[in-house]
């Protein structure tokens, strides 16, 4: 069974630029999560999708972050404009439904300079 795929693996951008991350969940997984992990901290949930609907985006900085999951499969997370404090690893995870059964991708390491 293929795992959660994320791209790119690494990205370096200047502040105020925009960036997008892509996630392909495990086949059949209805629930998709985007987490932000800042160095020295644990992953923090940014947004959770159930199929193509948003379940929880309470911690998503909506003035600069956006996410979509068209057709209930792949998802993209966008940051525009980026700030220095957005430097982090962005993790995508998916599950059939429960967060306790989620599998994580390898993450995208973003550096904002």
């Amino acid at each position: 069974e293929a795992g959660v795929a994320q791209s790119p693996r690494y990205k370096i951008i200047e502040k105020r630029q925009s960036v997008a991350f892509w996630c392909n969940p495990i086949s059949g997984h209805a629930t998709l999560y985007w987490y932000q992990q800042i160095l020295g901290q644990g992953p923090k949930l940014l947004i959770q999708f159930q199929n193509n609907g948003v379940v929880d985006d309470s911690q998503l900085p909506k003035d600069r972050f956006s996410a979509e999951r068209l057709k209930g499969v792949d998802s993209t997370l966008k940051i525009q404009p980026a700030k220095l404090e957005d430097s982090a690893v962005y993790l995508c995870a998916s599950s059939y439904g429960l967060p306790t059964e989620a599998f994580f991708g390898q993450g995208t390491r973003l550096t904002v300079v």
Binding site: G42, P43, L45, D56, L91, P99, T100, G105, Q106
Partner: protein, 114 residues
């Protein structure tokens, strides 16, 4: 507010000895707890979990203990192996069913010395 805390950023143990990683939480409504292991440049992988109705769960070399009155859980690894060297995150589930979410601690870096 940090609802899940891992107060030890790092831990170093000798191969073959016991590793004990600790985690404290503040929300008594958490009903499920998990431990994840993370190697560099990889995503977290599930290690072991425990329901709030239990006080112990064991899987091979890994045992998780839950003390609800103290709002404390710990992960025991016996015996520790060099391959166990990684960052360990505890996480707690808030909310019910598919709308629940995981809240993670800051992580503890375990180094097992040969």
């Amino acid at each position: 507010d940090q609802q899940v805390k891992q107060n030890s950023p790092s831990l170093s143990v000798q191969e073959g000895r016991i590793s004990i990683l600790n985690c404290d939480y503040t929300n008594s409504m958490f009903d499920y707890f998990l431990w994840y292991k993370k190697y560099p440049a990889e995503g977290p992988t599930f290690l072991i979990s425990i329901s709030s109705i239990k006080d112990k769960n064991e899987d091979g070399r890994f045992t998780v203990f839950l003390n609800k009155s103290a709002k404390h859980l710990s992960l025991h690894i016996v015996p520790s192996q060099p391959g166990d060297s990684a960052v360990y995150f505890c996480a707690a589930k808030a909310g019910a069913g598919n709308t629940g979410k995981l809240i993670f601690g800051q992580g503890t870096t375990l180094q097992v010395k040969p």
